[in-house]
């Protein structure tokens, strides 16, 4: 790893720490928050800048290692950004419907006729 120049290593390390911290925060939100709808917001820490930071770190690392830009990890970041919302969308709507039919859960406003 010593073949990576320090000017790349330091931001990479920083990004790693930030990213990992966001991941940890996001996951702890999943545990700490009280209702499902609140918890739904937690993972977006992971899938937004959590992923972004780590992917960037990875790009820096491999580019430093190879001595030329290695950008393919961008793809991972892009698709995480694109695909995770799909799940959230569908899951959130499903949760609302389930809550409307279930009796013991707090009822959100009726979203659709």
């Amino acid at each position: 790893m010593n073949d990576i120049p320090l000017w790349l290593a330091i931001p990479a390390a920083g990004l790693l720490v930030i990213g990992a911290t966001l991941v940890l925060l996001g996951a702890s939100g999943l545990v700490r928050l009280h209702s499902f709808y609140q918890r739904m917001h937690a993972p977006s820490l992971i899938t937004s800048w959590g992923t972004g930071a780590i992917v960037l770190a990875s790009i820096l690392f491999y580019s430093g290692q190879a001595g030329k830009p290695v950008l393919h990890d961008i793809i991972i970041g892009v698709f995480i950004m694109i695909t995770t919302p799909v799940t959230m969308l569908l899951l959130g709507r499903a949760a609302v419907q389930r809550d409307q039919s279930g009796a013991d859960q707090p009822k959100p406003p009726n979203p659709a006729p």
Partner: protein, 93 residues
């Protein structure tokens, strides 16, 4: 020096993400409702993918890329199916 900095950062990142996965797992098992589990699984997926990337950096190989891409591109398919089942009671109509 680079190695030292990076290895500390990587060790932290790896452990932190692993703990994050554990937290996801807690929610996964705990529920209480199905949507919580799906949410937890999706998060677990994403976190695991990041763990994969970080571990790849730590081991110095780039061979985990394919697995990570697959997780990023296809990981949501099962979550979508799970969500759809919750909404419609049926995955494909």
């Amino acid at each position: 020096m680079s190695a030292l900095i990076l290895s500390y950062a990587l060790a932290y990142a790896q452990t932190a993400i692993a703990i994050a996965v554990c937290l996801c797992c807690w929610r996964l098992i705990r529920g209480p409702r199905a949507q919580d589990r799906v949410l937890a699984l999706d998060t677990l997926y994403a976190s695991t993918m990041l763990l994969l990337i970080v571990s790849g950096i730590r081991m110095g190989t780039s061979f985990f890329f394919e697995a990570a891409v697959i997780m990023a591109v296809l990981g949501f398919v099962s979550s979508v199916a799970l969500a759809k089942l919750l909404f419609r009671g049926e995955v494909i109509e």
